[in-house]
């Protein structure tokens, strides 16, 4: 797989009790759940979209603020294992328990690419955006898709990974997890003074994982937090992109000098 490194230019993190990268790095947990404010979105989208979509918008905004990339032109890869599963459950409840027609707006925002769509609307971006899922390999596959975009189009790209708690009715007790949303922006070349991502492969990691609590560690996209933790800790080496339930994809990380 391509050896050409891409520079890491910005990151963003949202967990209901840990908002922002600084809180994540210092492991400062709040006593109360925060709600995403989604100021990146237009007012209508903000009102109509799910917490998942709004959290994705917030981590985009954090990464844009750090990277200074133009939100109206940057390519974007949104990754989520289950996507708008909560919205889907709401639709199923409407159909099968309440015998009501599904809400048109809930149906329109139940698509996996709801966040990808409303962020493009909010940022007036007419460029490339996509929405992918690969269960516990979602962070790795989102990074592969994003790196392929950056390397071939020679343009910056945004990677967002998020999953809300899985619907307990469908997954059972042993698969519940905490809410995680995170974003990374990549530039297509190595940039002096910035950390860089390189080769993605199935292999053994040699960089220690972030100190996540159990609930967040079970989230299918927890690997993106481990990567952000390694980036901000100034580590170099091979970082695991899943917590044991994926196929073992790793990415080479080179710390900023």
């Amino acid at each position: 797989m391509s050896e050409i490194p891409t520079a890491i230019t910005g990151v963003g993190v949202f967990m209901p009790r840990m908002v922002g990268v600084d809180a994540f790095m210092s492991q400062t947990w709040s006593d109360e759940d925060a709600t995403p404010n989604a100021e990146l979105l237009d007012r209508r989208s903000r009102r109509r979209t799910s917490v998942l979509t709004r959290a994705m918008a917030d981590v985009c905004a954090q990464a844009f603020a750090e990277s200074a990339h133009d939100p109206s032109t940057i390519g974007a890869v949104f990754g989520s294992a289950l996507g708008e599963a909560g919205t889907m459950i709401g639709l199923l409840e409407q159909m099968w328990r309440l015998y009501e027609p599904p809400s048109p707006m809930a149906f329109a925002t139940s698509v996996h690419n709801a966040a990808s769509g409303v962020v493009s609307i909010g940022t007036k971006n007419r460029g490339f955006t996509t929405s992918i899922g690969a269960d516990f390999d979602t962070p790795a596959m989102a990074l592969i898709e994003a790196r392929a975009w950056a390397l071939t189009h020679r343009e910056p790209v945004l990677v967002v990974c998020a999953d809300e708690p899985a619907p307990a009715k469908l997954v059972g007790d042993n698969h519940e997890w905490g809410f995680v949303a995170a974003a990374i922006t990549l530039a297509p070349h190595a940039v002096d003074g910035l950390p860089a991502l390189g080769h993605l492969q199935i292999g053994t990691a040699d960089v220690e994982r972030s100190p996540l609590q159990d609930a967040e560690a079970r989230n299918p996209v927890a690997g993106i937090l481990d990567l952000i933790y390694a980036i901000r800790s100034g580590r170099s080496g091979r970082v695991a992109l899943d917590r044991g339930r994926g196929h073992g994809w790793t990415v080479d990380l080179r710390a900023a000098p």
């Binding site: 797989m1 391509s2 050409i4 989208s45 294992a81 289950l82 996507g83 889907m88 459950i89 639709l91 199923l92 159909m95 099968w96 328990r97 027609p101 599904p102 809400s103 048109p104 149906f107 329109a108 925002t109 139940s110 698509v111 996996h112 690419n113 709801a114 990808s116 769509g117 409303v118 493009s120 609307i121 940022t123 007036k124 971006n125 007419r126 460029g127 490339f128 955006t129 996509t130 929405s131 992918i132 899922g133 690969a134 269960d135 390999d137 596959m141 592969i144 898709e145 790196r147 392929a148 975009w149 390397l151 071939t152 189009h153 009715k169 469908l170 997954v171 698969h175 993605l200 199935i202």
Partner: protein, 404 residues
């Protein structure tokens, strides 16, 4: 812009309401025979749908726990790829073969049934497993196991562009030397939630869909999908393959891909089709192709007034009324996450054989649609074709395919 590296397409399989193989689908298109029939899914309104009405194969024993309608359709498609798949496998190492699929529903039909059971009994039915029956990883596991691929694999879920976008992912991964071959495509199956959802939006037709007709009443939903093999041209990585390269097996070429966003509305297209224009123009630019070199367009053509109008305006702004256009959703129904790959394969049939299927039910053509749409089959040499897909979220893609 991506470097222009035309990629050989070396295999294609398709399955939908018209039939379970490319040759059966081809015959139905040639004869102008629709696969739409009165919908049998339990919904409280009358509509037509494109249902697959042939028995689906059982998965191999080791994959039985992953059995879903989506997985069974995937098995049919893999089996139809047959020798073309074997040739691809002989050319490339398993870790250099990727799988990128599109779906919007994944295993929603099975989850719907499970949830109905849950509401009645307060527990999920025995045997239901979200990770094997619903998530994207489930269908990836089945397809990767069936073809022995160990490279990157993911599902794109961008509603109605889901199975066209894997072509773009394949193009990028091959250009970036991440992989050598990609199985692309996608599948959607009929389920109550999509039928009821489109009905709630006022977009579902009570009769077979009639895209671009003055008398159209909306969308007909369908099920099915298509798988396509996209490979790197030139030298193979396996010296023992005894193979001169994928281009000698090309059945068509992927010359260009254009992706764009409307940045306008979550479920309505830009009225002037500005995002659609961008997607088509970017595909032309990437292929180094002028608008005058396009011989045919397989339109997204859903059969709603807004969508048809936006797309027709977009096509007219780039091509005028010179290029024959058809929406084959009048044959298959709108297969949603399976539509992009389905229509790409139908476009390849047009390229290969030099005819464009009749636009079913189009007469009287909407006088506000300024593009060329023919109610009868058009026999014409076709060298290049565009296949359009547009989706919720304002997500757009146009594929530019060339005859082999």
């Amino acid at each position: 812009m991506t470097e222009n590296i035309p990629l050989p397409i070396t295999g294609a399989a398709i399955c939908n309401a018209l039939g379970p193989t490319r040759s059966v689908v081809r015959d139905a298109l040639y004869e102008g025979r629709s696969g739409l029939t009165p919908c049998t899914v339990d919904v409280p309104f009358a509509t037509y749908a494109g249902a697959i009405d042939v028995p689906l194969p059982a998965l191999p024993t080791e994959l039985e726990p992953w059995t879903t309608r989506t997985a069974q359709i995937a098995l049919m498609l893999v089996e139809e790829l047959g020798e073309s798949l074997q040739r691809m496998q002989s050319r490339w190492r398993p870790d250099r073969i990727a799988v990128v699929l599109g779906t919007s529903t994944a295993g929603a039909d099975r989850t719907e049934a499970a949830y109905q059971h849950y509401i009645k009994n307060d527990e999920l039915p025995e045997g239901y497993d979200l990770w094997r029956h619903h998530t994207y990883g489930a269908i990836l596991h089945v397809v990767c196991s069936l073809i022995g691929a160990t490279g990157p694999s993911w599902v794109i879920s961008t509603a109605c562009t889901s199975s066209a976008k894997p072509f773009a992912s394949a193009q990028r991964m091959i250009a970036a030397d991440m992989v050598d071959a990609v199985l692309v495509g996608g599948i959607d199956t009929l389920c109550a939630m999509t039928l009821r959802g489109f009905h709630s939006l006022g977009a579902l037709s009570s009769e077979p869909t009639r895209p671009f007709s003055a008398e159209r009443k909306g969308i007909s939903i369908g099920e099915g999908g298509a798988f396509v093999l996209v490979e790197r041209p030139g030298t193979t990585h396996r010296a023992d393959s005894g193979d001169g390269g994928a281009e000698k097996d090309a059945i068509a070429w992927l010359d260009g891909v254009g992706e764009s966003s409307d940045a306008y509305h979550i479920s309505a297209p830009h009225p002037k089709g500005e995002g659609a224009v961008l997607a088509m123009q970017r595909a032309l630019d990437q292929a180094g192709c002028a608008a005058g070199e396009i011989d045919h367009i397989n339109a997204h053509g859903t059969g709603t007034t807004h969508n048809d109008s936006a797309e027709a305006n977009a096509i007219f702004s780039l091509f005028g009324d010179r290029v024959p256009v058809v929406s084959t959703k009048a044959y298959t129904g709108h297969t949603l996450g399976g539509a992009g790959a389905t229509e790409a394969v139908i476009a390849m049939i047009a390229l290969d054989e030099g005819w464009i299927p009749p636009a079913l039910g189009v007469e009287p053509v909407d006088p506000k649609v300024p593009i060329q749409i023919e109610a009868s089959r058009v026999e014409t040499p076709i060298r290049r074709v565009l296949s359009n897909s547009f989706a919720f979220g304002g997500n757009n893609i146009s594929l530019l395919l060339r005859r082999a």
